[in-house]
């Protein structure tokens, strides 16, 4: 270890940290309450009115968004979708690279359905990896990133869109149909402005990873593909 590294360690021992609060009582109180996706649905409904008024206020918006968290993704229902460009498949997905390069750049072990090995992957903001697959004869996008890593994916869904909770291999999942937009906040301040999407979307968790399947699939077809993606 160099002298500078030793000095940094010494510095750490001399930092004036605020006293650690006793977290246990609040954590235990909240841990006692079962987590129910049905309650999130109620929270979405209750928050709608407040959201419309608060959406323009960054602090309020942040507070409300916490209700709709799924791994590294957030689903927000809005009165009006933001100004967004229309996106076709494979457009605006990021930089095209090989699968290996994508995994290295995004620090993610890509999960794929058996037998699928696309030659190309797209990396957005050095954290979100997307591949184009064919399922039931239709092109679909599969995007992945580490749930607990940097970056977050945001789904803005219109009032008329349908959002329902479901499960994939026992893990929480969300199925979205109808008008919605995709927004992405990556590492080091990277921001992909909202892009309007037309396909149906399934968001789900696999371990620490958040996955998103987008395309013209039915819910049953999307769930079948998601269950095989490991």
């Amino acid at each position: 270890m160099s002298e500078l590294e030793l000095r940094l360690e010494e510095l750490g021992r001399e930092l004036a940290f605020p006293p650690t609060p006793d977290l246990a009582p609040a954590v235990l109180e909240r841990s006692r309450k079962p987590f129910a996706w049905g309650r999130v649905g109620v929270a979405i409904a209750l928050a709608l009115v407040a959201l419309a008024a608060a959406f323009a206020v960054p602090q309020a918006r942040t507070a409300i968004l916490r209700f709709f968290h799924l791994g590294g993704a957030t689903v927000v229902r809005v009165d009006t979708l933001p100004q967004a460009t229309e996106r076709s498949h494979a457009a605006g997905l990021g930089v095209p690279v090989t699968l290996q390069q994508a995994q290295r750049r995004a620090d993610v072990q890509l999960l794929l359905p058996p037998g699928e090995r696309p030659s190309r992957a797209y990396v957005l903001g050095d954290a979100l990896v997307t591949v184009v697959l064919k399922a039931h004869g239709k092109p679909v996008l599969l995007s992945e990133f580490g749930s607990f890593g940097p970056g977050s994916l945001q789904k803005l869904v219109a009032q008329e869109a349908n959002v329902e909770t479901t499960r994939v291999n026992g893990a929480e999942a969300v199925w979205i149909t109808g008008p919605h937009a995709f927004e992405y906040f990556g590492r080091n301040g990277f921001h992909q402005a909202p892009v309007r999407e037309q396909g149906n979307v399934l968001l789900w968790l696999h371990g620490d990873q958040t996955l998103r399947l987008e395309g013209p699939l039915t819910k049953v077809q999307a769930l079948q593909l998601a269950r095989r993606t490991r």
Binding site: E5, F17, L23, A26, L28, S31, T62
Partner: protein
Amino acid sequence: MVDRPLDEAGLVERARGGDLDAWETIVRTHQGLAFRTAYLLAGNASDAEEAAQDGFVKAYRALGRFRRGAELRPWLLRIVANEARNRRRSAARRERLALRAAAEVRPGDAVPSPEAALLAGEQRERLLAAVESLPDDQRDAVACRYLLGLTEAETAAALGVRAGTVKSRLSRALVRLRKTLEEGRA
């Protein structure tokens, strides 16, 4: 029969089965480091408390996905660190890190001359300011690895990146710190 404390794996198994006493023991064991990690990453005490609390609640709900035999501490830190970084993104302020007033003399140390103590204090302040001026990804790596004393593997887990990424961020950070300190001396 001697009532021996359970090891961590046993506590995790009990907590996984809904035993909140076991979970409380785990929370109390790790809350200090979790809060300090969140403080360095979020940048202020109130966000750090909220991030650590939310992190523990999420961890409890995710215990079913915790891999048996894995180390608990890096896993917990990863969840808390992610909460802290999410808050930093929307935080309006970051508190300046400060040194303890008692840092100049610790029990057992030879008492330095006033001039030497002043010089050492200034050097530490300069080093701290240099660390604060690093880009976020390098600052986070330095904070976890050196200021908190985590291993490289724990740092990688906390930041959600590979060990190789931690190594390269630390390497770039050390080069930048040396340059900043040398420029300050000139």
